[in-house]
Symmetry: C2
Subunit: 421 residues, 2 copies
Amino acid sequence: MVRSFIDVEPDSHFPIQNLPYGVFRPLKGGQPRIGVAIGNYVLDLAQLDSAGYFDQTAVSGKNIFSQPSLNALMSYSRPVWKELRLTIRRLLDVEEPALRDNKGLRATALYLQNDVELLLPVEIGDYTDFYASKDHATNVGTMFRGKENALMPNWLHLPVGYHGRASSIVISGTDVRRPQGQMKPLDSAPPIFGLSRQLDFELEVGCLIGTGNEQGLPVSIEKAEDYIFGLVLVNDWSARDIQSWEYQPLGPFLAKNFATSISPWVVPFEALEPFRVPAPKQDPEPLPYLRQNSPGSFNIQLEVYLQSDAMKRRNRISASNFSYLYWTMAQQIAHHTIGGCNLRPGDLLASGTISGPAKDSRGCMLELTWRGSEPLQLENGDERTWLEDGDTITMTGWCQGDGYRVGFGEVTGRVLPAALS
Amino acid sequence: MVRSFIDVEPDSHFPIQNLPYGVFRPLKGGQPRIGVAIGNYVLDLAQLDSAGYFDQTAVSGKNIFSQPSLNALMSYSRPVWKELRLTIRRLLDVEEPALRDNKGLRATALYLQNDVELLLPVEIGDYTDFYASKDHATNVGTMFRGKENALMPNWLHLPVGYHGRASSIVISGTDVRRPQGQMKPLDSAPPIFGLSRQLDFELEVGCLIGTGNEQGLPVSIEKAEDYIFGLVLVNDWSARDIQSWEYQPLGPFLAKNFATSISPWVVPFEALEPFRVPAPKQDPEPLPYLRQNSPGSFNIQLEVYLQSDAMKRRNRISASNFSYLYWTMAQQIAHHTIGGCNLRPGDLLASGTISGPAKDSRGCMLELTWRGSEPLQLENGDERTWLEDGDTITMTGWCQGDGYRVGFGEVTGRVLPAALS
């Protein structure tokens, strides 16, 4: 097994097999720049670039690491990303002396993760949110329309998705204010204004587009994965009471656009390759433009934790898996572009809530508490129907290898009381 | 009446009362920069800035005019925009010698509009599309759900809106490819794949946000107009057959995201002030956060023309007015931000299709032909149910003053056959 000269614990999310990209700023000061996580450290790629370590790669002289986002790097293509990744991997290998024995550079280019601030890694142009979990769509449909009409007629034929709000995407660790807005609690009453009482999280995984496509020219299903730069965890905060009143006929709007949190480390698509698995069998078979003839999913274990100030520890409230998703990322990209829509480097395509068949694998409070009717039991007799002010939601995810983990780290966020206007 | 030393015809859209901002590149070469339209000319603000004409303003030394977008200028606030506008207006005034008598600068800083290429004026971060015309929502609802259920229960209580696609917004004059995709023509059949046969335009007006608001802090209805930098015409191209199959439950997606066209000149909000009129009376009275106590609409005349290669002239197919809109721009902004969503400089908030009560004031083919059942009669016995390849749609709009017009110019686009994948 490949090993780094930097010690990495077996349960670390960041072994040499991962090497996720992020944007950081040293706490002691300095400009934002691009780094790679390795164990408990961040490797400063801007310094390695200055020292000539990337002179033999396609990004040499392009100044792509002294930047406040990954977008410039993302706008290249798979061969360039692969070459860069192999170069970094070689430099961190225990057998490779170039960086290992350069004590001066190691002292300045390796930061403890505790000594840096992680920033939003990508300038996200457009954010699309899919609805790709069949269990999630079935559960939500059952609650709102009954078991017989749970899935809309289109659901099994195409990956349903909609445009989300890019401006309010925040980095993990950012507090999220409870939204206020218009809702209609009872069928007979006029709508009211107030604080959302049904605040929720949504466990999702986001796919970040690298290479873009030209407007008017669709991406074929066979080539779709070539456009993926990497993946992050996504918490798509939701206000269910606002959503149920506003969403017809044009879809969710204020119920979702107050905040979406993403994890800071972008796991390269290449790092997931050993964990590729088939997606669930699709019946009916989709139309040819959505037909994927190779396994298109990944075995990524996912967990959600809730903790309030009063709780001594965080409570695991969900354990799910990326491979439950019915529609794959390649299918999402092929569908997104089939009419000619252009994707740009840095665009985010999130999966939608990831729920599995088991009750504890459901990816949001709406499903976990069955719309509030079955409260979650937490430590010390505490319970939850929806999120309360002060609650912190933490999501994590990883692929389990033999003796190592390719992990996503965490996306976390705490609920603040609303700012009243 | 204020007059410029530059001759402006009475029916020109660009008298000294307007002074819309745009981004242009001289055909003879050079970098994109910011200009203002005056009569048949474009005034190069970058050159005026270099010559010191803005030294007394807040933007002095900020290099905001030698840029490929208006975003830097837009990120200021109303007092700065007003001061700049008054400065430009003074410089163009027939009584003011500073520029009038500077023959050298006039020769280089004034371009005939025919001698420049107009570019997308704004880097649009997020694009929101509302559904603010009651006549439009009623017509569409009647066609799809019957007269009794035409308006959804929420429609009279809040400005329904959804997130659109920013990446595919194009400048007027850009050809638009007919999308292909999945649709379901008959209730009994499985879905099919093919070219959209129900291609449509949508006549809209877009509001461009200048000053942004902080995430978590709503904008009050009283202050909402302060956030508006200016307005443009919008054609939100739509594929109705794709839309009717995909849109439930999360709203339109591929039916809209293949292209949206905007006009090149951004009409300053200040230029519309003389044309302010009340919006239609709202019943029921909206909740306090949406209650606007001053007239919030504008008398902007709007027209749509269709022309194919075979037609000798363009055929006017709709004549509408911005003041038909039920929900105002201030209400849209107050609603958009009430849950904490942040608007950023350059965000586009479009009105949704603008239809009036008269049949010929409807703003899209869906309504004009009543879903294809009443074809439009054009010259020489030609007719249309939906748009055909080669059709050019041109929208125009203006406010009629006493002896002058504050106009939007045009947004135009031609339909190309699909690119088959």
